[in-house]
């Protein structure tokens, strides 16, 4: 007897063509009741391991199409994390040098990954956190016209990538979505995927899970030094829930223990918020966007500690 034929595997012309179309999995063991279905979109399955591959590719495609980005220019971006690594991949394959501005206290793991992908690193003051990296990158770009800064916080290609990709993929896969939960960083996922899903499911609740920063990362002189990303319109969020580091890590553990999914810190925060919202429902479907996997956090000191807040308080984790 001949074995069942298998579908011919799709051969991608480049790793960039493997971005998106991520799997959606039901979280049956985590659901608080059978009438509330929980789903997770596994963005860690993208080529560099995070949702930011979508954003990096979309921003570079848009800049090349508009003529703003041409051979000979250099890329600059404030990021210490997933966006830097994603941009480093796209920049390398498209032939642009990349400089990442990142807070001086970023983990060595992260620097190593950025350097391996070929990115150059400029440090901003650790105590100013991500706001400081944004500020320094804007200054550098203003003084050197050879830099092109995609600037994920203000680039419409960021939410568009989630409108056309993340959100559209969920709308195609599911017949019903009542709540969308994603981590709040730049606001790109919530704005883009939220807008697309609202078209298919008009009563959708768009919910943000937001990290509670520790004192040490709020080295701002006044509230006026705060920052709201230009692409984020808070009025378009229906819920905005603060999640502590300890709650996020508990969420990571729960996801791993119950469902066998190893998510990153923000994924744990999203799961925590999703469970809170799911408990308010009698029935419905809740979709969680899990932005990355836990692999890039393995060297962090919070896995084995009894006091997660003390261990994590000096950091912003997404």
């Amino acid at each position: 007897m001949r074995p069942d034929p298998v579908a011919a595997p799709r051969i991608a012309p480049s790793v960039l063509d493997l971005i998106g179309s991520t799997p959606l999995v039901e979280l049956r063991r985590l659901s608080p009741k059978p009438s509330v279905r929980l789903y997770a979109k596994l963005e860690g399955q993208n080529p560099t391991g995070s949702i930011k591959d979508r954003v990096a590719k979309a921003m570079i495609d848009a800049a090349e199409a508009s003529g703003e980005l041409e051979p000979g220019r250099r890329l600059l971006e404030p990021t210490s994390g997933n966006t830097g690594i994603a941009l480093a991949l796209v920049a390398r394959l498209r032939g642009y040098p990349l400089t990442c501005v990142l807070p001086a206290n970023v983990t060595e793991e992260r620097r190593r990954l950025l350097r391996l992908y070929g990115a150059e690193i400029v440090e901003s003051p650790a105590e100013e956190g991500s706001n400081g990296a944004v500020r320094l990158a804007l200054e550098l770009a203003a003084h050197d016209p050879s830099f092109y800064m995609p600037f994920q916080y203000g680039n419409e290609a960021n939410p568009r990538a989630h409108y056309e990709g993340t959100g559209a993929e969920i709308a195609t896969a599911l017949d019903r979505v009542d709540v969308l939960v994603a981590g709040l960083g730049t606001g790109g996922t919530l704005m883009g995927a939220g807008a697309r899903l609202r078209e298919s499911f008009p009563d959708l609740v768009v919910a943000a899970a937001e990290p509670m920063p520790g004192d040490e990362v709020m080295g701002l002189r006044s509230l006026a030094d705060g920052y709201v990303p230009p692409i984020l319109d808070v009025a378009k969020l229906d819920r905005k829930l603060l999640v502590t580091n300890a709650e996020s890590v508990a969420g990571v553990r729960l996801l791993l223990e119950r469902e066998g999914i190893f998510g990153g810190v923000s994924s744990g925060g999203v799961v925590h918020a999703a469970l809170r919202l799911a408990a308010e429902l009698d029935e419905g479907a809740v979709v969680c966007i899990l932005a990355d996997g836990g692999w890039k956090y393995l060297s962090a000191g919070f896995w084995e500690t009894d006091d997660v807040e003390r261990e994590m308080g000096r950091s912003v984790w997404w």
Binding site: G81, N105, P213, V217, M218, K296
Partner: protein, 98 residues
């Protein structure tokens, strides 16, 4: 009575306290009670009579902007958290390492 958590950049205005008590039946009343006793906070928290763009206020862990804003009712014994708006999207900004 409502406990109000004060972020580091505002603590000098309240004598260094991390948390202070305030009274009121809505978020707006609690904040008014607070700025009544610590007037230097007013300029930091308000812009044109509403919460400043970079001021986030959370009740029960939820941003009051997605509740009823300054009109959100406050139950006795709740905690209000004041935080600056922070740029996210930079996961993995790690602790100080050797």
């Amino acid at each position: 009575m409502t406990r109000v958590r004060i972020p580091p950049m505002l603590r000098a205005e309240v004598g260094g306290a991390r948390e202070v008590e305030a009274h009121g039946e809505t978020v707006g009343e609690v904040i008014e009670d607070l700025v009544g006793r610590y007037p230097a906070l007013r300029a930091q928290l308000y812009r044109d009579g509403d919460l400043g763009e970079f001021v986030n206020v959370y009740l029960g862990g939820e941003d009051v902007r997605t509740l009823e804003g300054l009109d959100t009712p406050v139950r006795d014994g709740s905690t209000l958290i004041l935080l600056p708006a922070m740029a996210g999207g930079s996961p993995g900004v790690g602790r100080h390492e050797a």
